[in-house]
């Protein structure tokens, strides 16, 4: 009986200490969990001005005009940079494969990524996405260097 009472007393003391510790932590933990919409608007305004300043700085460099359509000089047709990868493929593979099958398969993979990742695991999903991103980055860069 005495042992049981001692144990109960010990448990109660430990609980008290635990409660005190939790209360003390609550007292010191004054970090806000939410911010108001007004504070968000201030942050957004600052971000907008920062991005605008950066864009204005970049845009201060004059953007050259392209070659006039009537110009008789033969030119090497360039794709916009984001389609450089497709043009790189078009120069090497049959048009249906380079122009449709590979881009459509990539898009299909992106659309179904959540379902693939659910079946095979999120790490596999991340790995497959990175391989795809690397593939398109490399061929886009290869096209840019070649052009």
């Amino acid at each position: 009986m005495t042992e049981l009472r001692d144990r109960e007393t010990n448990v109660m003391e430990l609980q008290d200490r635990g409660n005190c510790l939790a209360e003390t932590q609550e007292l010191f933990d004054v970090r806000p969990r939410f911010i108001s919409i007004e504070e968000l608007q201030v942050r957004e305004t600052i971000a907008v001005f920062m991005v605008l300043a950066m864009l204005l700085f970049v845009s201060s460099v004059p953007l050259p005009l392209g070659i006039p359509p009537e110009s008789p000089i033969p030119i090497h047709i360039k794709a916009p940079w984001m389609f450089g990868g497709i043009q790189w493929l078009l120069l090497r593979f049959p048009v249906p494969i380079a122009g449709w099958i590979i881009p459509a398969a990539s898009l299909g993979f992106l659309l179904t990524l959540p379902w693939w990742a659910r079946r095979a695991g999120v790490r596999w999903g991340r790995f497959a996405f990175m391989v795809l991103a690397l593939f398109w980055s490399i061929i886009t860069l290869a096209y840019a260097l070649q052009a």
Binding site: R31, P32, R33, F34, I35, S36, I37, L40, R43, E44, A47, V48, V51, L52, L55, L56, V58, S59, S60, V61, P62, L63, L65, G66, I67, P68, P69, E70, S71, I75, I77, K78, A79, P80, M82, F83, Q87, L90, V95, P96, G99, W100, L107, L110, L111, L113, P114, W115, A117, R118, V122, G125, R126, F129, M130, A133
Partner: protein
């Protein structure tokens, strides 16, 4: 109990009154979605100003040249339009990579991932149509490639006519493409973006009150 009007709940989700601090950590999102939306707004704003001088079709190149050299601030507005569009493509790409890296496409965000992929595709098409509308030789060449690619599909001739219109040799710009670039594609993009933001909040990113 009175049910709130649906449009009101939509606005509440777009602009909630309180936002969890954890959802706003810079490292959590890198602000890439917000920056790409801002780039879209800048592109729309500068695009509206460019409309006052631009002429689609055979006069496209001349109108762009006169806009740059004669219109007040024409050059800088065109530059802003171009760089904001490029910035949008880059930020959308990095935004996608960030979402995959953090596995943020997992349930319940699967639908929003699909919306995001369509947004990415539309951004690319919008950028490509802008490239053709410059009316220069490169644009005309790219238009010819796009036209022959589309014509390779079954029923592709109709598709090419629907999207590119009657593009003549040496001219990438057409009235049809102009309508797609100025009205249809940005309109669809805006609607999808608002749906994307709404879903971010609905799926627990930032909860409305």
């Amino acid at each position: 109990m009175v049910k709130p009007v649906r449009s009101f709940t939509f606005l509440q989700h777009i602009r909630p009154r309180r936002i969890p601090v954890a959802a706003l950590r810079f490292g959590a999102t890198l602000c890439l979605g917000g920056i790409s939306f801002l780039a879209f707004l800048i592109t729309v704003g500068t695009g509206v100003l460019l409309l006052f001088h631009y002429e689609p079709g055979k006069q496209a190149y001349i109108s762009v040249a006169s806009m740059v050299s004669l219109a007040p601030y024409g050059g800088i507005i065109r530059s802003l339009h171009f760089w904001a569009a490029q910035g949008m493509v880059v930020t959308v790409l990095f935004h996608m990579a960030r979402v995959v890296w953090h596995h943020a496409y997992r349930p319940p965000r699967e639908k929003n991932w699909v919306i995001g992929v369509f947004l990415f595709l539309l951004t690319l098409i919008l950028d490509f149509s802008g490239y053709l509308l410059r009316g220069d030789r490169e644009g005309a060449g790219a238009a010819e490639i796009a036209q022959s690619l589309l014509r390779g599909l079954p029923g592709g001739a109709g598709l090419a006519a629907l999207f590119l219109g009657s593009i003549e040799l040496g001219h990438g710009s057409s009235l049809t493409l102009y309508v797609w670039h100025v009205f249809i594609l940005p309109g669809v993009l805006l609607v999808l973006q608002l749906w994307h933001f709404w879903r971010v909040r609905r799926d627990g990113g930032v909860r409305a009150l």
